[in-house]
Symmetry: C2
Subunit: 237 residues, 2 copies
């Protein structure tokens, strides 16, 4: 297909650009060793992430006004304290743990692919993470965003239409001039329904051995690749 | 003074980071030569900029809903077409001229200073320029923003309070954790009144030989410098 109309790439981030499961597991393993807390920290990461969609649903449905993801993460963390022996920690320590999402590390192929893409296209995040989280993550991990868009600037949560449409609008672009890049079929489905181009990256280990969804492209997305560098190659970068 | 509380630097852009007068003059001189239009293009740049504040005032006052700066620039350009022999140009050509604001070049000291500052602080724009304009300018001139804030994300125009406060809020910071960097005393005055720290850069040639304002710091700003690198030095970077 011809991609000459595309001006910007909008990226999902958690799971697509960065490895939240591995990053949280590694950091909590170090934390656990330092604090003599012996737990299955990979399961902790998975349990924390499992509370993510339900927490956003209250805001999407309108039952609750917009609050940013840092706050939802903190509320969700609260539910895990007892099960993971974290109840005795101070608020400062818990805030540090909560901000592990600000320190997530990219998959090995992410920066090589994104740095190639950035030469020819605007690269912007379109994540459910809030701005501060995304700014800190980018500074921590050298993610070369031209702009941070998504949930907080649009005051909603994907897959709400307004998050995608506000992102394109802020860049002065029509949806067809934007390509959504994600490892999640539902994210691309929502973007495509609004006229966005779509690129799927296969991340079958995002959730570890037990991953049951997003094991392959479920629709004929405009580009399908195993790595971010495949997206760059697909766009001639 | 101690600056340990500061986490982010928020920059005015037109005149502070980039030289709009020189950039527009140079590009229009080349355009004039190519199209056999002989005009005083520095005066054109000054006349265009002189329409900037009046155009924003209608939005600040509430007489007009928010429109982005690209549109105000285009409306203002329309008023100059007759006087500068630009009436015969196509809409495509006029759009290209209007987007000269997307291609402004930094003062010589801006990037050296900002790249030093970025190592220790979040660096974000807090300009009246719209997001697309700022993204394109950053890509054109290698300006190392961590985030683009200001007018369009806040849906207002400086010196409206909400533009400054929304910028700090998006970064998850209190005003006192942010330092506004500008070559304009009124911009810093507005920021300081809301609790921001302030850094003044002297740009006495922003408007050329005839400059009548902002020839010096008019209040005891937290940092005062001749160059962006002085701000970096002042903050220990």
């Amino acid at each position: 297909m011809a991609h000459s109309e595309i001006k910007a790439l909008l990226f999902d981030v958690f799971g697509t650009v960065v490895d939240w499961r591995g990053s949280i597991t590694r950091e909590m393993q170090r934390f656990g060793e330092a604090h003599k807390i012996n737990q299955n920290w990979e399961q902790f990461a998975l349990d924390w992430r499992a509370l993510y969609q339900p927490a956003m649903e209250g805001i999407r449905s309108g039952d609750r006004g917009y609050v940013k993801l840092d706050q939802l993460h903190r509320e969700n963390l609260q539910q895990l304290l007892h099960g993971y022996e974290l109840e005795a920690l101070s608020e400062t320590q818990l805030d540090h743990i909560n901000r592990v999402w600000h320190r997530l590390q990219p998959w090995a192929d992410s920066l090589p692919g994104m740095n190639r893409l950035k030469k020819n296209y605007v690269v912007a995040s379109l994540s459910n993470g809030n701005v501060e989280l995304m700014v800190n993550m980018a500074r921590h991990s050298a993610i070369p965003w031209d702009m941070i868009l998504g949930s907080e600037t649009a005051q909603g949560y994907k897959p709400q239409d307004k998050v995608y449409l506000h992102g394109a609008q802020m860049l002065g672009l029509k949806p067809a001039q934007c390509m959504m890049v994600a490892a999640h079929n539902d994210d691309l489905h929502a973007a495509r329904s609004l006229g966005f181009k779509t690129a799927y990256i296969n991340r079958p280990y995002e959730y570890g051995d037990s991953q049951a969804r997003d094991l392959e492209a479920e629709e004929p997305w405009d580009i399908v690749g195993e790595y971010m560098t495949d997206i760059a190659t697909g766009l001639g970068c």
